[in-house]
């Protein structure tokens, strides 16, 4: 890969512990524009924890984050958003009692005269983006608790895409989806990649990783086993890294 320029994101030597357990132990990863980097590992390997340090949900105990080569202070989700980092959480992080538009704009509402919410404008914008992402989506005026898993997922994705993200974190974005919707997400990832976004993809499905990712980082017990260029290795190599922690020759 010709990833010679300044990385979009570089997380250097990140460590975070919860009550003496090292959830993430001196891990370094990077991400370039237009690249999809897969994060793999068992449940509890520390993938989500690592990525939450980037999205501002957790604060790392040690280590540094660089965005476009300069040191970034990310202390909370708002900081992360200011660096154009958007996250699709595994839990989707939707407020079930609010409708799609309210969720999409949560924390970044469109306000009109006198600082009052402009709900109509937000709904209109939501209709626009949903028409692109999920043309079958019709339920704009009901709480998202009334939506199907796939519809909820598309709201969460719309929220991440709408605000011109440069760095996108997707934590198992297809876990709740049927085959057709999974295909839609795959196409979306390809499209966003073409637009020059950098994407971290946490994924359990090896085939999805092989299809979508440029590089894969494998973690085990909080540590990084290795990083591979996906087109240089086989499924078995990656599985060996995940299960045995065995680093193939091509890995760095």
């Amino acid at each position: 890969m010709a990833n010679t320029g300044t990385p979009l994101v570089e997380m250097r030597d990140i460590s975070i512990a919860f009550g003496g357990i090292k959830a993430v132990d001196h891990v370094t990863i990077d991400l370039h524009p237009g690249e999809v980097v897969g994060l793999l590992g068992h449940n509890g390997a520390g993938k989500s924890t690592l990525i939450k340090c980037l999205s501002g949900a957790y604060k790392a105990d040690a280590g540094e984050i660089y965005i476009n080569g300069s040191r970034a202070e990310i202390n909370n989700p708002r900081d992360a958003r200011n660096y154009n980092i958007e996250t699709i959480y595994q839990t989707l992080a939707l407020a079930d009692n609010l409708n799609a538009a309210s969720n999409l704009f949560l924390g970044r509402e469109i306000v009109g005269a006198g600082g009052t919410l402009d709900d109509s404008a937000m709904e209109a914008e939501t209709r626009k983006i949903m028409a692109r992402l999920n043309p079958n989506f019709r339920k704009f005026n009901v709480p998202v608790s009334a939506l199907s898993g796939g519809q909820r997922q598309s709201v969460a994705i719309a929220r991440a895409v709408y605000f011109n993200a440069k760095i996108l974190i997707m934590d198992e974005p297809t876990a709740a989806l049927g085959p057709q919707e999974t295909q839609m997400v795959a196409e979306l990832i390809q499209e966003l990649k073409k637009q020059g976004l950098g994407i971290f993809l946490i994924e359990h499905d090896i085939h999805a990783v092989m299809d979508l990712c440029d590089r894969a980082v494998v973690m085990k017990n909080g540590q990084r086993v290795g990083t591979v260029n996906v087109n240089e290795v086989t499924d078995e190599d990656i599985l060996g890294m995940i299960i045995m922690g065995k680093k193939p020759a091509q890995a760095v």
Partner: protein, 451 residues
């Protein structure tokens, strides 16, 4: 189920009945309609109970026995509801964010005492008795003290991680204790004369002309809301309500406003107060048959209306309100969306405390005295009002108007029990307790059915 008779397939889905169509086109909240219906039913039961009881005991039909739906009772009801209603609007926010505030009654007590001491013992020697600044400073002291106490509770809850139930249970005891200590248990009276007007009463009301002005403003507001909503929908190409539905809504809204003006204006000053008024103003010409002075809206009721409007705007039209709902729906998601949930919790409790201070203003003014027992058990009626009004204890759901209607329902039950001769506290408590549980049960059924 072979023994069930087979019906022809009903076409209700394709062709909704007139009521369903009416509700669909007017977009009225069915839950609110249900609550208003229940309220009117309660009123009718209390009104007709003595009439029917009299008829059944063989004394004939006498409609004069119905006391509930009379201008006088409805006016009293409105004043009595204002204190609980004001606090219930704040409790909605607290409960939506999955918290509870058991300390509001005690905050009423301690802020009431603080305001009493300010205007009776502290300020008159400094400013001179009757200085118009006295009531203003006193009210501000009450509001600020209430807000500070609430903020302190909120800080303990949000930043120190103590459950709100415990913090405010402690607060209930602590602030009631301070209310007693502040004047060694003595009652402080009388209040400043301007301050006392805030409690309502015939002189603390705005009269016929004032009420018509309020009514006119109300009608203008109804029409403005409808037309602004229509304009906004047209701008974004959303479907409009049919014209007839807009007309019905305008008529219903303005009708309710004008109706309430007629009711409060039909309640005239009691004879004793008129006599005192005539004595104090010798140049008033008393017409034949006595002087009739319309009372109009009481000031505390106007305060409740203003608080209700402001709180509704806060909850539905501002980021603050949106965040309150988001925190209630999913606290974790709210935090991940960049909302400072701890700071929000602190602000919500501060607001609740300030509203308790405002309720204390009305309470002390109405009594024309500050006592350390002011607001005792109010927390329970306030929580009950919010819950009867549709606020879900699971969080995330609730409306301001619902809480105010809830307060009206609770107050109607209390007043009604007195009017039909069960004024003894024990019967009243039983009625209110049963109503609370029943209301929440019916609400559960409603929610399951509409899901």
């Amino acid at each position: 189920m072979t023994d069930t008779p087979t019906h022809a397939p009903q076409s209700t889905d394709a062709q909704p009945g007139p009521i369903a169509r009416f509700i669909r086109d007017t977009e009225l909240d069915t839950r609110m309609l249900g609550m208003v219906g229940a309220l009117l039913m309660i009123w009718c039961v209390f009104h007709f109970y003595p009439i029917i009881a009299n008829l059944l005991s063989g004394n004939g039909l006498n409609f004069g026995l119905g006391l509930f739906i009379t201008p006088r009772n409805l006016w009293n009801l409105s004043v009595q509801t204002s204190m609980t209603g004001i606090m219930a609007t704040g409790m909605v926010l607290v409960i939506i964010t999955r918290n509870i505030d058991l300390s509001v009654g005690a905050i009423v007590g301690v802020t009431g005492m603080a305001m009493g001491i300010m205007q009776v013992n502290v300020l008159p020697p400094i400013l001179g008795l009757g200085n118009p600044m006295i009531w203003i400073v006193s009210v501000l002291v009450g509001l600020i003290l209430g807000a500070l106490i609430g903020a302190f509770h909120g800080w303990l809850i949000a930043y120190r991680g103590i459950p709100s139930f415990i913090v405010t249970l402690g607060g209930m005891l602590v602030w009631r204790g301070f209310a007693f200590l502040s004047a060694d248990g003595k009652t402080i009276a009388p209040m400043d004369t301007t301050f006392a007007l805030l409690g309502g009463g015939p002189t603390g009301s705005v009269g016929a002309v004032g009420s018509w002005i309020v009514g006119a403003l109300g009608c203008i507001a109804v029409l403005w809301i409808l037309s602004a909503g229509r304009k906004s929908r047209r701008k974004h190409g959303f479907p409009l309500r049919p014209n007839w539905a807009e007309t019905v809504l305008a008529l219903l809204g303005c009708g309710a406003v004008i109706g309430s003006v007629l009711v409060v204006n039909a309640y005239t000053w009691p004879k004793g107060i008129v006599d005192a008024y005539v004595k104090a103003n010798p140049d008033v010409v008393v017409p034949e048959g006595g002087l009739e002075i319309s009372t109009g809206f009481a000031i505390p009721v106007l305060i409740l209306i203003v608080v209700g409007i402001l709180m509704t705007i806060l909850m539905t039209r501002t980021r603050f309100g949106r965040y309150v709902f988001a925190i209630g729906g999913n606290p974790e998601a709210a935090a991940l969306a960049g909302i400072n949930t701890k700071w929000m919790t602190l602000k919500i409790f501060a607001l609740m405390g300030m509203l308790a201070g405002l309720a204390a203003v009305i309470s002390a003014a109405r009594l024309n005295a500050a006592t350390n027992a002011l607001g005792t058990l109010d927390e329970l009626y306030v929580i009950a009002s919010a819950v009867v009004g549709g606020t879900s204890l699971a969080g995330g759901v609730g409306t301001i108007y619902g809480a105010i209607i809830g307060a009206l329902v609770m107050q109607s039950l209390q007043t009604g029990m007195v009017l039909i001769g069960y004024g003894d506290g024990s019967y009243r408590m039983i009625a209110v307790g049963v109503a609370l549980v029943l209301a929440v049960y019916l609400d559960n059924l409603y929610r399951q059915k509409t899901k």
